[in-house]
């Protein structure tokens, strides 16, 4: 049967259908936007979590574990797949498969009984307690903001967004997981000679030891590939911190003719076209680079108007992680600023589980949040050798000063002597956390 367009029109078929078959482009433009409500209202308090990274996934599971049916938990995440930044340096060094870093959002959501919505949050109306997304809107009783970090290229390029984009494309930072990591890996594997620069971002930044671990893993690849080249680490600090001795020893003993560590090198200007960096320790020309700009709280935190513009991070109650600006909002993970807490996956997991979730659960139960929280710990391994695999570790214990209502460091345990045993522990550390988060 041959039905012409005229026939269809005559038959009175809706215009949307016509458009669909006659022109896919106009059909797309006519598709309804998702602006309606997502999910029916909840009879029990609804907690919406935005950002399904280390903090968000942890919060979703542990809130359900804590409160069961007494809470409705909705996790909204824009990515299609979870990729871990922790262990990504080890993957860069070719010591583990990508599989190790990848996890799904669906299994834990169905196992632990929370909603997972794969959407990008486009707006937050705190007055209406509403989150707008590409899939529609949702209202909350409590909001947990866990958007991670954003790169502050403005510190390098001012308002020149084109130059920032060019820099991000040519020399991706790979401190936010995804495509950038793959690009960086290709760079490292393709590097044949010359100078490779790695810029350490100024503190506070995501994962204090990550740039140094990354340098060790890049040096390992260069060494393995017999590259005649230098890896120059430009560090704004006066020394490597944390695990300074462990990293320093590894650089000297394992990669003596590859790694050059330059302290007190605060970035003054970056020219991604001419490939020059001006720093307080001199100017450096490079052939290739991993250029890491300063970090700030994730975009969503800015969108919600919850960032302290002076610091670039969210001010929170240091025991409950409740926003200082809105008691209905809690900030989890790297976006939150708590004195003495590093921005790490381990800490994101720990402060979310032991502090934020406990406090919020207490509030929902009508109890005192402060007596519900307990002190976190933070354990951070760094792989410094690839052959054999060897790692170092720092482990920080905190206690809670109930009078000051703040956490304080109780003890710092460090092992700077690299060992294969600690390398094995590195993987066990990660596996156990993935298991906890993803079921």
């Amino acid at each position: 049967m041959n039905t012409s367009r005229r026939d269809l029109l005559k038959a009175g078929v809706g215009s949307l259908f016509i458009a669909t078959i006659s022109s896919p482009i106009s059909a797309f433009s006519m598709m309804p936007m998702h602006s309606g409500r997502m999910l029916p209202p909840s009879k029990v308090p609804r907690v919406v979590i935005v950002g399904g990274g280390w903090a968000g996934v942890t919060a979703a599971k542990h809130l359900k574990k804590e409160l069961g049916d007494k809470v409705d938990v909705v996790l909204i995440e824009k990515r299609k797949i979870f990729m871990s930044c922790p262990i990504s340096n080890v993957w860069l060094g070719g010591l583990v498969e990508m599989d190790f870093l990848l996890h799904d959002f669906q299994t834990p959501a169905s196992k632990y009984g929370y909603h997972f919505i794969n959407a990008t949050v486009t707006g937050i109306n705190r007055h209406k307690r509403r989150v707008m997304t590409t899939e529609g809107y949702i209202n909350y009783d409590y909001l947990i903001l866990a958007p991670g970090i954003r790169y502050n290229y403005e510190a390098w390029f001012g308002k020149d967004r084109d130059l920032a984009r060019l820099c991000a494309t040519k020399f991706p930072s790979a401190f936010i997981p995804g495509s950038e990591h793959i690009a960086l890996k290709r760079k490292i594997e393709n590097f044949e000679e010359g100078t490779f620069v790695l810029v350490v971002p100024p503190p506070p930044h995501r994962c204090p030891p990550a740039p140094y671990e990354r340098a060790a893993m890049i040096a390992h690849v260069f060494k393995k590939n017999g590259i005649k080249g230098k890896l120059i680490i430009l560090d704004p600090k006066k020394e490597i911190k944390p695990k300074g001795k462990g990293f320093g020893d590894a650089y000297k003993q394992l990669y003596g003719d590859i790694v050059e560590y330059v302290p007190n090198a605060k970035v003054k200007a970056v020219d991604p076209v001419k490939r020059v960096i001006k720093t307080t320790a001199g100017d450096f020309k490079f052939d290739d680079a991993n250029l890491n700009p300063p970090h700030q709280a994730g975009d969503l935190a800015w969108l919600a108007g919850l960032v302290n513009k002076k610091t670039g991070w969210c001010d929170v109650d240091p025991l409950t992680l409740q926003s200082k600006l809105d008691p209905r909002v809690f900030v989890a993970g790297d976006s939150a600023s708590v004195k003495g807490f590093p921005k790490s996956g381990d800490m994101a997991h720990n402060h979310t589980q032991n502090m934020l979730v406990k406090a919020l659960a207490a509030i929902i139960r009508g109890k005192d949040p402060y007596s519900a929280v307990s002190a976190p710990t933070n354990t951070c391994y760094s792989m410094v050798n690839g052959k054999p695999k060897e790692a170092i570790v720092i482990n920080v214990l905190y206690s809670i000063d109930r009078k000051k209502k703040a956490p304080k460091k109780k003890k710092v345990n460090v092992v700077n002597k690299r060992s294969s045993q600690l390398a094995e522990s590195t993987f066990e550390w990660a596996k156990a956390l993935y298991r906890d988060m993803f079921g």
Partner: protein, 238 residues
């Protein structure tokens, strides 16, 4: 972990109403019953000889599987007598652990699954091990502890394996031991119930090792005791 006077009174009161069984050392459960009784099984060495307190080396960790064929436990003969201890779970439940058994009250056993993130000794490697006196952990500086080298939780076997450092909040569950002239028996588990989560989270690994989840959950009728260093050639210390 300190117990307030009120807590102790509560423990005693409930213990009193339940009464102690005739079995030497069976502790009394309180609130949410952290005690789970399992079939009484004898602990045997690989050569078929029964395990007796005098046949154990001091401060050497041994492994046996109980109550399930996939759930590892540590058996340790400590240096000194260990008396009963009251312990508290994160949930608020309180229980009293029997202390050591044997004439010298030095032999203790705990489930060797870290209560933090469930790391456990496997044939290929063990992140959990015991640090004898004066063989301190380079990381925590502690000795006479069971320590997990995944996230650095340390447990004190002299105090019912209560967590003394790191992220773990709950003691390692204790294995209830009973001794008579024939040897040592295991007859229950006391403390946090972690087996459900263990079977769930390690489903893949356990299926690989035992063929199916069902097989991994079979109860043992006898427990073979081997030194940890014979069980695995790769004890991770930290």
């Amino acid at each position: 972990m300190g117990l307030s006077r009120r807590d102790l009174i509560r423990v005693c009161a409930i213990g009193g109403t339940l009464g102690l069984t005739k079995n030497v050392g069976i502790p009394f459960p309180v609130q949410g019953s952290p005690l789970r009784k399992f079939p009484r099984v004898p602990l045997m060495f690989a050569n078929g000889k029964p395990v007796k307190p005098q046949s154990l080396k001091v401060e050497v960790p041994y492994v046996f599987f109980y109550p399930y064929r996939s759930t590892p436990c540590f058996l340790i003969k400590l240096r000194e007598r260990v008396g009963p201890v009251s312990l508290r779970l994160e949930s608020g439940d309180i229980y009293k652990w029997q202390g050591g058994i044997g004439k010298e009250k030095t032999v203790v056993a705990f489930v060797a699954i870290c209560t933090h993130q469930l790391s456990y000794p496997r044939r290929d490697k063990s992140f959990l091990s015991y640090y004898p006196k004066e063989k301190k952990s380079p990381l925590t500086g502690k000795d006479e502890v069971i320590q997990c080298c995944a996230h650095m939780s340390a447990f004190d076997p002299k105090s019912g394996a209560k967590p003394v450092e790191g992220p773990a909040k709950d003691p390692l569950p204790a294995v209830i031991l009973h001794e008579d002239t024939n040897g040592i028996y295991a007859e229950g588990v006391l403390g946090k119930d972690i087996f459900g989560e263990f079977f769930d989270l390690y489903r893949r690994e356990l299926r690989r090792e035992f063929g199916s989840s069902k097989k991994a959950k079979e109860l043992v009728s006898q427990a073979t005791v081997v030194e940890l260093s014979d069980f695995t050639g790769n004890i991770i210390k930290c």
